[in-house]
Amino acid sequence: MRITTVRRISQIFFFGLFVWFCIVTTIGERFWQIRNWPVNWFLQLDPLVALGTVLSTQKFYWSLHCALGTIVLTIIFGRYFCGWLCPFGSIHHFVGYLGNLNKKVADRIRLNRYRKAQCIKYFILVFLLGMAAFPSLASSLQTGLLDPIPLVTRSVNLVLLPILDRSSYLTSVGTRYYELGWLILAVFAVAVLSNLVIPRFYCRFVCPLGAFFGVISRFSIWRIGRNKPKCIDCKLCEKACEGGCEPSGSIKIAECVLCFNCRQDCVHDMISYQTVPSLAGEVQADVSRRGFVLSLASGVLAVPAIRLSGRVASNYYNKAVRPPGALAEEEFLKRCLKCGQCMRVCPTNVIQPAGMEGGLEGLWTPVLNNRIGSSGCQLNCVACGQVCPTSAIRPITLDEKKGVGEFAEQGPVKIGTAFVDRNRCLPWAMNKPCIVCQENCPVSPKAIYTEDIFVTVRDGLVTVKKVTNQTIELEQSIPSGKFGTGDYYVLGEDGYQGKISENTESTIELTSADALTELLLPGSKIEIQVRLQRPCVDIEKCIGCGVCEHECPVSGKRAIRVSAEGETRSADRRLLLRG
């Protein structure tokens, strides 16, 4: 079998595996649901994930150890990851292939020539690592914006699968929503469509992971190269060169993605995969010292510059409620890849990619939006932390989340606090009974309790005409049938209170008749009152899960809303004096 055929099989296999892992990142017990599938495998193989978090946290998180294997294999074989395994690379490869099907050989050779601008990706890599590398100054992990594995994971998880599943509901019960999905799609689409201009545009010019592999592939044992110093210079080997590395001449070895098309296309077998450098010469990654220093310096300074906003300090955005188990904001930003795994696995769809809520550096990091999804953050669920590849959301247990068992002393994990908006709440602002929030509060005892109060309804002061048995006749007319719902009462002048069972335009019927004729005299005034239960939040009990906000019948801006104050992950946002 041809080596290029083997490569294609490998690409198809790993692409399929990647999509499969995205699909199975779904809560459930069926074979196509999460169970024990290694859904983070591609992210764990990605050395840029490992390196980024190592620089930002100065710890090598255990679950990322596979990345060492990738580095070792790259040192032995070169950039096999890009040409054989990377699912994003395979998409570019395929789209680039389609885009060039009808082009002439000469045009293709021209398209696949090496371009000076291919060095941009190294500067992007240095810039992004610079942002992460100086925790003492301020560090932020932003590699995930452009790192192909988080990028493609995010795009498939949050955009492509939800669109494909929109009407079939194969992987979810209802439609999945992702705020800002359009922006994720836009980035993905631009990256993919750029292949129509230059094949593997993203890989050649942008990809920071490719740049990283390019740098370490200089040490690789085997490499592509000419096995003869002279050739007829037909340049056919560059017809389908995926990396744009010019194997016909002095090969730009850092750009070679090991597609093996050159070896296939050389009619004289002058190109081989060998342990010696190309006999036509070899050129290393084109990174100027000035460019390196500039991009490193801008990366290092970018984070403190962004932080001038105070978004990670006292000026934090209170609506950015993080999932349960999320680390304190500074630590969180050192680990979050924006890969969207937590957002995909969340059974209620409440975890959303942030816009600017977390500041510029918080783009696409997970925040909760209780107006989206099926029911706030579910009490009996810790899926997001269990799936997070870098432990930006710690893998907490249910016991820890609820603060029971060995965690009883620490108490539950609070992700925020619910605030009743008394200007919008039906019982507070409009004197209508409701308390859906109280009903749905999942903690025991409930964090929402009610203040019970009787309020005289509009035009509710009326005069008694006559009392017979348990019926009161009135001088005035009242809306017929309105007060018989079990929520309305009459209050007499001397404090007598009776419950209304029904009413007509001129009479009120009470549920009991005990000595009514003596208690309410003709000519006396009575007030028609509604019994209201007004919701109040007990901040000692509230965990910020947002079920109340999700269920609030005031559908636009909810009358009870969760805000990040009181979250246990950051001591400086606490609200409680004690507890």
Binding site: Y169, L379, C434, P442, G486
Partner: protein
């Protein structure tokens, strides 16, 4: 006579072009005519097709309307209670499709009592298949919390499937609009009609729970789960909506599981300490009577639950359950 590029058209070309033009004009005209809208959009949306829920009830029998069985083993007490009313054969005919509507509102484990206990569900599903010779049993609900999580965490999905039932999750297409005749609240409102459409019989199975707004959540409140749309607005008039639901839904049988009663913090519960052992299983053809008895498990009087009076007035049943001469038994 004419060459390409010259101005003059040949006769043949003229005819072909003329025909093409005529067809284009005709098609455009026909399309425009077929879609022509003289009036423009109206204030009200297009009239929605309304469905009405079938009457699932079976003919009543004197002194076999309400059964109350004491005991701890739900499978046994539930079977006994049904037996006392004449056995499942009275309610399910061979070949019937039976829909079962438990309370699966919350993603909470069965031990916390916020949802119908899976043991009752599997007992009734098995009865329907084995003695009732039902063709198919459907177990379904439209929960408050995330549906998939509710079915899984409550244990109901697994128990129902193990007993051979079809577990149906709510999806958009399963809701249809309905209007309750004489109703004030259920007007053009989406209900979870899909699973009931093919059903011949409907059995409601609910736990006994405290409910701060309405006083108690039992078999009548259980039908709230059939409402779709933004049903939370009905909490403004909770008693009327519960009474209207009881008018709308005419079940074959309701089962009220008072083996354990959620005394406080309802309807979500969340702690064992919210529960009390009350060891009662009720089967009834009269929901009002079942709930009136159930209120005693919560330490309430039927008069504490205004919706019972409203439903009684609407002729759904009687809150004076003793008048039905309930059959009592106990199993150990």
């Amino acid at each position: 006579m004419t060459n390409a590029g010259e101005k003059n058209l040949g006769r043949r070309q003229l005819l072909v072009r003329g025909a093409k033009a005529a067809v284009s004009i005709a098609v455009a005209g026909a399309l425009a005519y077929s879609m022509y809208d003289r009036e423009g959009p109206k204030r009200e949306a297009e009239k929605i097709k309304l469905v009405s829920l079938p009457d699932f009830s079976v003919p009543g029998r004197d002194e076999q309307t309400l059964a109350i069985v004491a005991g701890e083993d739900r499978a046994k007490t539930a079977a006994k209670a049904v037996e006392l009313l004449g056995g499942i054969e009275r309610f399910v005919s061979p070949g019937d499709v039976v829909a079962i509507k438990p309370n699966i509102a919350f993603a909470s484990p069965s031990i916390l009592g916020a949802t119908t206990h899976p043991d009752v569900i599997s007992a009734i599903v098995r009865l329907c298949y084995e003695k009732g010779r039902a063709k198919k049993v459907i177990v379904t609900d439209n929960p408050i919390n995330d549906p998939a999580s509710c079915f899984t965490i409550s244990g109901i999905g697994k128990a129902a499937a193990a007993a051979g039932a079809d577990v149906v999750m709510p999806k958009e297409g399963l809701f249809q609009y309905t209007t309750l005749e004489g109703g004030k609240l259920i007007v053009n409102w989406p209900v979870y009609y899909g699973p009931l459409e093919e059903a011949d019989k409907l059995i409601g199975i609910a736990p006994v729970k405290d409910h701060h707004r309405s006083g108690a959540s039992m078999t009548m409140k259980n039908w709230y789960g059939l409402l779709g749309g933004r049903r939370n607005i009905f909490h403004q008039d909770i008693n009327t909506i519960i009474a209207e639901l009881a008018m709308l839904v005419r079940p074959t049988l309701v089962i009220l599981d008072g083996t354990v009663t959620m005394m406080t913090n309802g309807p979500t519960g969340g702690s064992i300490s919210d529960l009390k052992k009350t060891n009662a299983m009720i089967a009834s053809c009269d929901m009002v009577a079942a709930d009136a008895f159930g209120s005693s498990l919560l330490g309430l009087e039927p008069s504490d639950l205004p919706y019972l009076a409203l439903a009684e007035k609407a002729g759904v049943g009687t809150a004076d359950y003793e008048s039905l001469k309930p059959i009592r038994a106990s199993v150990t």
